[in-house]
């Protein structure tokens, strides 16, 4: 057990220093490694396998709603970027500029895409003529660059992987419906596949995406009580259509501007998964996302018949993603490694178990050990994986609920944030001045105006004027 302790000792305790714990898990579970350029990370096999699983689930959900994948250039001419003022102002301070191609300086600077509204708009402008061409429901999987000052693996990096959907529609209603449909897709994906509950709502004008008329968000709560914006869906109205001249001839034979949306989810959700489910032994992966669902660890594997039995069990579990750890490390080291990597179930099988026709199944999420007959194991494993998936969601939901508070007055608001970590629901007058003040004085931002509004009180928690909206406030990543 010494090795097991050693490996576990390598990560900082989560209650002691959550930030350091997070970094330790990213490194020790071999998800990422730093590169020579600040904020550019190497995503290692264990990390990339998570992204592949996320892509697979999310892409299938997109396609089920009629979305098609495309690929746009990674570089944007400066003049094209500058066509829509708000977007430029939002992104210009943080783009990377290409100024030379080969040995020649370029006549116009090109930026590495920070997001691709401009490219999609420029494309749609020539691609769409008639209402028959609408809607266009395009998405791309790619990397983008934003020159952030502070960077952390997955949570905030100068380059990150994401998908960005960009759709155009003939009517406002259809575009609005798509905006909320995609928010639902994200929320369902996080809940059902990643076991992460979220609060759905609308961003305030201060917090919305540069250039959007409305930004919708799903906000998750991390183990340390800080919020993480986990996916956003934007309604652009006709702003880009006007700036980029994207028109179509409608059924009534008049020329109209299209209505536009965009929506994105990034490698950040890997960070969310780590911080919602992880513990002091490392990662805890929801079964539906885990690249390996079951690790079979033979005990006294040099004894005759042990390895053979391990392979036999693997073959009997062919419905699942199973790995036998037959390396020459000690069982204790293998246990620690499987726990660090977060694989949902471990099956231990040794000579005495074989004699008795049983094995021990250990849940990663609870540590519970279950002795069970080898015969019929696949049924047991299948049931356990389902249970783990739903238990993980339920635990995360309970954590979210238990760390969501209400504050009717400024005093309550302030004392709650002083004493607790989590979301605080409180009323807001709708003025940015109050948002600014709250952020400045308490380091707290408006996370969203939830779709499910409640009336905590009748006045703004900041200025005391009549309240317009109930807002989720929190400290955020």
């Amino acid at each position: 057990m010494a090795e097991q302790k050693k490996m576990v000792a390598e990560i900082t305790s989560l209650d002691e220093d959550f930030t350091q714990w997070y970094t330790d898990v990213c490194i020790k579970a071999e998800l990422v490694s730093y590169s020579q350029i600040k904020g550019f990370m190497v995503i290692k096999p264990a990390g990339y396998a998570l992204w592949e699983a996320i892509q697979q689930h999310l892409d299938a959900r997109f396609k089920a709603t009629g979305v098609q994948n495309v690929y746009m250039p990674m570089l944007i001419p400066e003049s094209l970027l500058r066509k829509e003022g708000e977007l430029v102002n939002g992104f210009a301070p943080e783009v990377a500029w290409v100024t030379a191609g080969g040995s020649e300086p370029l006549t116009e600077r090109l930026c590495v895409r920070p997001t691709s509204e401009t490219l999609f708009s420029d494309f749609y402008k020539d691609d769409v003529h008639s209402y028959r061409d609408l809607p266009r429901l395009y998405n791309q999987w790619c990397s983008v660059v934003r020159w952030e000052k502070e960077t952390r693996p997955f949570l905030r990096s100068r380059e990150f992987l994401w998908q960005e959907g960009h759709t155009i529609h003939a009517t406002k209603e259809e575009a609005e419906e798509r905006t909320s449909q995609m928010l639902d897709v994200y929320a369902d994906f996080l809940a059902e596949d990643m076991a992460i509950p979220t609060i759905k709502g609308r961003k305030t004008d201060k917090e919305k995406f540069a250039g959007a008329e409305a930004t919708y968000t799903i906000e998750a709560l991390m183990h340390d009580g800080r919020a993480l914006q986990s996916g956003t869906s934007h309604f652009f109205g006709q702003k880009f259509a006007e700036a980029y001249d994207i028109t179509f001839t409608d059924k009534d034979n008049t020329l109209k501007y299209v209505w536009q949306t965009s929506w994105g989810m990034t490698t950040r959700v890997i960070g969310a998964m780590i911080m919602v489910h992880g513990d002091n032994r490392g990662l805890v992966l929801p079964p539906r996302i885990a690249p390996v669902e079951v690790v079979i660890i033979p005990i006294q594997q040099r004894k005759e018949g042990v390895l053979e039995k391990a392979y036999e069990i693997r073959d009997a579990l062919s419905n699942f993603r199973v790995k036998v750890d037959d390396s020459d490390k000690s069982p204790g080291f293998k246990f620690a490694e499987q726990e660090m990597r977060g694989f949902p179930l471990r099956v231990e099988i040794g000579p005495r178990d074989i004699e008795n026709g049983v094995c021990v199944v250990v849940r990663r999420d609870t540590g519970e050990k279950i002795q069970t007959p080898i015969e019929g194991l696949d049924q047991v494993i299948g049931d356990l994986l389902k249970t783990i998936q739903s238990d993980m969601y339920e635990r995360a939901l309970r954590h979210l609920e238990e760390h969501t508070y209400s504050a009717a007055t400024k005093e309550e608001f302030v004392s709650t944030f002083e004493e607790k970590t989590g979301f605080v629901k409180a009323m807001w007058c709708g003025e940015q001045a109050c948002e600014d003040k709250i952020k400045e004085e308490y380091g707290v931002t408006s996370r969203c105006m939830p779709f499910r509004q409640e009336e905590i009180s009748s006045t703004c928690v900041c200025c005391g004027k009549p309240a317009k909206k109930m807002v989720y406030w929190g400290k955020a990543y």
Copy 2:
């Protein structure tokens, strides 16, 4: 039929102007569209679906050999790029340079990756310590930028999508074996999935990859008799290991440099597929790659029961990728569109067919029409798709064989290239001077020294000195 003719008339005849035909197909089959930056293309849904199918097949083949996916940064510091001299000299003239991040100029220029040997080497240097850490079999799917002067969709673009595998090994033998294993993976994928036969061989030193000790290639022959390098696999020896100091402690407890390989395949293979299989009606897709294998086109679809029958047939063909074209276009237009897009089979179903319990199946590759009972159609479709896949390969192979010539003397060599299009097999002394001369005088390059050597004559076709190798020569894309 007027509309059908019109749509077909929109593409230039392949025999008249192959280059224009190629561009027409790329545009009219809606594979790509141009962006504002020369050489940067928009890959549209029909084009990207091909890349998704290619990725899926190829990625499964990689993983079956133990390869794992990762993601490396898209930017490379200039100092890192410059560590290996040959690679820099090969790529420096064609990289894009990032010189500013946000509003600040960078202290060191960063290039957008043209290929990632340098990044993988820099990563492996710290990641590998012992022989137990080897081999590392990593691959990434990403986009790269090379500032080409002449550009054409898929064939040569300034940004393209690809995969690049980078492996390191404890021994030379193992690295060499991996190099040839991956070349086989590419050749098998092209033959079995893309229906494209290739010649396997080694590049001459003049034509090999910058920094490689040996480059292996698969060369395909396009419909117009020009060659297309379709995939390459490189053996680096210890060159990068020495430049980037990638060492490991071997079993004998001594410090050694690793042995390295890399291998890549790009969106170029979509160009190859177009130019090997396409015809005057547009694309012809091999069934295994086609996003849609069967298009069902109802005739007189407003008549009662016709559309219902079309959907019923679709549901009965659930083993295949099937689409019903129930749009309000005319059947003739739908036929032309399905042919332009290259979907392998079309099922025509009208009121009289329904009465008789039959339908008409039309092969895209041959135009053959087959009347067949609706009952048992899935068996017929399954067999036809297999037949089409293998017929397409056989036709391409026959074309390759019929356009491969031998030349024993310089006169034969010259006259063959004057009169014919295709590969010419001829002997070579091994001197670059002769390669240079042949390229300069006849516009012909050495495509490869095939693994299957023949002795066409005993002397170099250029200088008459004793021959060392039989070479495939050709005009190339």
